[in-house]
Each structure stands twice: as C-alpha cells, then as structure tokens.
C-alpha cells in the first residue's frame, strides 16, 4: 500500500461540483455552530487560545518518528485538541489549520475545502472525542484508562476521516469504493497507530504535569451532543454512499456494482497485500472492508478496555 495517497487533503478536480457544494454547506453550518459554542466556553480568551493552539497543531507536525514501510508518524492533532478543549473548539482549530494549508500551500483544494474541513476537522474531532469519553465511562476515569482511551480515540479518528474521504471520492465517481475504501482504510490504519502513540503519550504527560488541563475538555460544550453530531454525519455519508442519484457519473459506481465478477478479480491483489483486513466468507469487497474496520475498531476498544482495567486493578492492589 506504499503507492496510496498518504494524506487526506483532497485537491480540486477530484470531487464533483455537487458533492463539493454539499461539503461546503455542511462545513459552514458546523463552523457556525462551533463559533457559537466556543464563544460561550472560552469568552475573551477564545481568539488567543485557539489561534496559538492552531499554530501548535501546525508546528507539532514537525515532531515525527519512522513507522513501517516508509511512512512516518506525526500528529494530525484533531483528537488531542478535542480531548483537551472539547470537540467544537477542536473543530475551529482544525478549520484554521486546514484553511491555511489550502489557501497558502495549495494542500487540498479550495472547492474541496468544505469536505476537507469536515473529514479532518469535524469528523476527527467528534469521533475522537466521543470514543474517548465512551471508553472512559466504561473503564472508569483512571490514568491508565485515559492513556489507553486516547490511543483508541486517535486511531479511530484517523480511520473515520479516511473512510469518509473514500466515500466522497466514490460518490464523485473518482475512485470506486471497492478500491478506495480498502486502500485508504489500510494506509490510515497504519498512520492511525502513529497518531495514537503520540496522542496517548501527550495525554500521559499532561496527566502527570497539569491534570487540570484535561478537565477543560471534560466540561466543554458538545460533550453530550457529540454522539448525535457524529451520528448525523455518518447518516449523511451513508445516504450519499448508497444513493445512486448523488452520483453525477452514473456510469461509474453502478456499472461497477453490476460487474462484480470483474471487481473481485481487480481487488484480488489488494487483498493479498492486506490479508488480515478482509473477512474471508463475505464476497463484496466494500462490505468486507467496512466489516473488517468495524471488527478492528472493536478489537482496539477491547484492548483499550483490557489495558485500562488491568492497570486499574494493579493500581488498586498496590
């Protein structure tokens, strides 16, 4: 999977105009809510705090370490920001970062900026936050649980962003889901490990040196509605993915769906590279990948739970 795009920044030309406009509408609504929510949360401190944390996310990407296969792990930042400041503030911070990358560096297109903000800003922030809070509720609020939950949340958030990206490309008729989903999900499963290690490392340091920082995120607005925002976005993506009307190139997806025999052949080499990433008895590649990602998520959840609980017991016994 070395040849696949490592980044999630969609350039212009890869999304159809309809899809791009839908992304912009979503982004504008979500940013408007985020501004409202953080104004109540942070008040006057809002601008300097979020501006400097956006610069932090930008600059922290210089801290990297080699993972496997030529990719290096570095922070994307959405989950860390969401855990510390809450999902809405993280949305604004990531919006600033992604916007600057698009306007100044051409890293991601201007028309595609709406979806880029939704994928890498909103979805990663909310998926990461929701996962972190859920795990803490199940495991209990111990320090080991926080570290484990931060790892799982960061991994999941990267994966969610990657899957959303591949769905948007498929709906635009640019990259069929059967190819794009396994490729994006596979590469980002690896990148997610880097994100998870860094985020959990950062959280473990914050707990020791300034634990009160973590309480800001626990009381941030959006803590209750995070699941609903996430569910709404997933629903929107699912509707987009399964409605043939949304596709401006009906020849793309529908034809492919009709030619599944050809598809299985086309997908074969992919799956021999990633044998663990498919469920062998299901034959539709996209479905298989979705199920495999869900299984992977469950495994990560379970691991986080076991690690969190286990260390908790050890701490109590001592």
């Amino acid at each position: 999977m070395l040849f696949s795009p490592i980044k999630m920044h969609i350039p212009d030309g890869f999304l159809s105009t309809t899809v791009a406009v839908v992304g912009w509408i979503l982004a504008v609504v979500l940013i408007w809510i985020a501004i409202r929510q953080t104004r109540d949360q942070l008040g006057e401190r809002q601008v300097p705090l979020m501006g400097i944390l956006a610069a932090f996310v930008f600059a922290a990407q210089a801290i990297n370490f080699p993972i496997a296969a030529g990719t290096s792990g570095h922070l994307l930042g959405g989950t860390l920001a969401a855990i510390v400041l809450g999902p809405w503030a993280a949305t604004l911070i990531m919006t600033a970062v992604i916007g600057v990358q698009a306007f100044l560096f051409q890293d991601g297109g201007l028309l595609a900026l709406g979806w880029n903000i939704v994928n890498m800003g909103v979805l990663t922030a909310f998926a990461g936050y929701a996962c972190y809070r859920l795990l803490l509720r199940w495991i209990g609020e111990t320090s080991a649980a926080r570290v484990a939950a931060a790892f799982a949340a960061a991994w999941l958030s990267v994966e969610v962003g990657a899957i959303a990206t591949s769905v948007e490309l498929a709906v635009s008729g640019t990259s069929p889901l059967q190819f794009g989903l396994p490729a994006m999900a596979g590469v980002h499963a690896l990148i997610g490990i880097g994100e998870g290690l860094i985020t959990s490392g950062a959280i473990s340091l914050l707990q020791v040196s300034r634990p009160e920082v973590l309480h800001t995120g626990e009381q941030a607005p959006g803590r209750k509605g995070a699941i609903f925002v996430l569910a709404g976005l997933f629903l929107a993506l699912a509707v987009a993915a399964f409605s043939p009307l949304a596709s401006p190139h009906p020849d793309g997806l529908e034809y492919i769906a009709g030619q599944s025999g050809f598809l299985e052949r086309a997908a074969e080499p992919l799956y021999s590279i990633l044998p663990d990433y498919t469920v062998p008895f299901i034959h539709n590649p996209a479905l298989t990948t979705i199920i495999a990602v869900m299984l992977g998520t469950l495994i990560v959840f379970a691991l986080a739970w076991i690690v969190g609980r286990g260390v908790f017991r050890l701490e109590r016994r001592r």
């Binding site: 990297n64 306007f103 190819f179 490392g201």
Partner: protein
C-alpha cells in the same frame, strides 16, 4: 520546514500584485470553478485556461516555472484515481499482461481530465498565494464574509506559527543532542519512539498553552479590541472592477466554448 511561510508570497511590482485582494480571491475561485465544471474532453477550453494562467503568472512576474512547480503538491493524490482507466466501460485499448485488466479509451479520457482539472486548479491557487500577502488575504476573506472570529484565529495562528516553529526546532535539536546513535547499539522500537514523540508533543502543548495565557494577559492589559487593524485599507477602484469583469467574461466564453463544442 513545513511552517516556513516566508517563501510563498513573491514580492514583485506589477498590476496583479496591486489588485484588490478580493478580486484575486474571487478570480482564483472563478478559475477553479470553471476548470472543475468544464466537461471532460474539452481540451481546447482547458488549453485556453492554461494559457490564461500562464499569462497571468507572467504578468505577475513569477516566471514560467514557478506556478507549474507549485502544482506538484497535489500529484500524489492522483493515485486515488488510478482505477478509473480500468473501471470505466468502453472499448479496450490495452490489456495489462498477465492480469487481464483492460484500459479503456473513455477511462483514460476521464483520468486525464481529472488530472488536468487538479493541475490547473492548483496553479490558480499558487497564483493567488504568490501575489497576495497574508494580511491582505485575510482582510479579503473577512470582507467576503468569512466569520470575523475565524479570521482573528487564523491571523493569530500565522503570527505565532513562527514562534512555536522555532520552539519545536529547539526541542528537536535538544532531542538529537541527547540521543546520539552509538555504534553497536540497537535502535529503540517504534512503540518507544512513538511514546517519546508523544511526550514531546505533550510538553510542547503545555508550552503553547502557557504562551497563549501570557499572550492573552498582555493583550488584555493593552486593550485588545478583538481585531487586527490593517494600516492600508484596500478599496475597489475602477481598475479592480474592470479586471474582475474581464476575467468573468473570459471564463464564461471559455465555458461556453467547452460546452458547445
């Protein structure tokens, strides 16, 4: 380094640099919209847009290669579109030996169009960021309706990205100085390295947070009003309107040409 913003704006004297930032923002957006909505295979219209972008960057004094070189950034993403030549129905032109995958004409056409669209759109973006200084771009975005708060956050971010970037460089230099690679010693594992990077990010985060608290205190004591003031407020003069109208007319003509081929 990634956070070095200085070499993006190219200071030159020319009429494009003097245009109102709003004209340049809208112009880039118009070009990108045209490129993205042009029907596939409208090569002549795509060629005209390429000519337009090249002429504009020549007029801006950027040199022929500058915008073209900048457009390489979007290229890795083209890999996402690689299945298209194989998966679009149509007459086959070439079959991959051994695998039996057929490349179709219509597939190649669509693949080429996507690449061309991306390429041209990125060039328009390069042209915009090379001729517009950051404060002017922010001012333009604000007067085009970007929320004031978001503009303020982005302004702050750009101001402090240099400070924090230097902070990160110092931390990385310190890490390199503390951890030499001795002959005969094994490299630490990925997990350990990841945790260490995480700890660094954590302490960098604390430093950033503390800096933001100091900055806020300093600003509050100086009476910050919530807005950064530009000394020179740009205003749309007749020339700006004319440039915008001319661009819009040209692009509509190219668009019509592309559709009514």
């Amino acid at each position: 380094m990634h956070f070095d913003l200085t070499d993006i704006y190219q200071p030159r004297a020319g009429f494009i640099h003097d245009l109102d930032p709003r004209v340049k923002l809208l112009g880039a957006l118009f070009i990108i919209l045209t490129v993205v909505t042009l029907p596939q295979g409208a090569w002549f219209s795509f060629g005209l847009i390429l000519l337009l972008v090249v002429l504009l960057s020549k007029a801006a004094g950027l040199g022929l290669l500058y915008t073209i070189r900048g457009a390489f950034i979007a290229l890795p993403f083209a890999l996402a579109a690689i299945p298209i030549p194989f998966m679009t129905p149509g007459p086959a032109v070439w079959v991959v030996p051994g695998l039996g995958w057929a490349v179709t004409v219509s597939g190649l056409l669509r693949f080429g169009t996507i690449l061309l669209r991306t390429w041209l759109a990125v060039q328009a973006g390069v042209l915009l960021s090379a001729t517009t200084p950051v404060p002017q771009m922010l001012w333009g975005l604000k007067s085009l309706g970007l929320p004031r708060l978001l503009v303020a956050v982005i302004g702050f971010m750009i101001r402090y990205v240099f400070v924090l970037g230097d902070e990160v460089l110092r931390m990385l230099r310190a890490r390199a100085a503390r951890s030499p690679h001795l002959p005969g010693q094994r490299r630490p594992g990925v997990l350990w390295q990841g945790q260490m990077a995480g700890t660094m990010v954590g302490s960098f985060f604390l430093r950033s947070l503390e800096r933001s608290e100091r900055v806020y205190a300093a600003m509050a004591s100086r009476g910050y009003q919530g807005e950064v003031v530009l000394l020179q407020q740009p205003s749309m003069d007749r020339f700006d309107w004319a440039a915008l109208a001319l661009l819009a007319i040209t692009l509509s003509a190219v668009m019509t040409l592309g559709i009514w081929r």
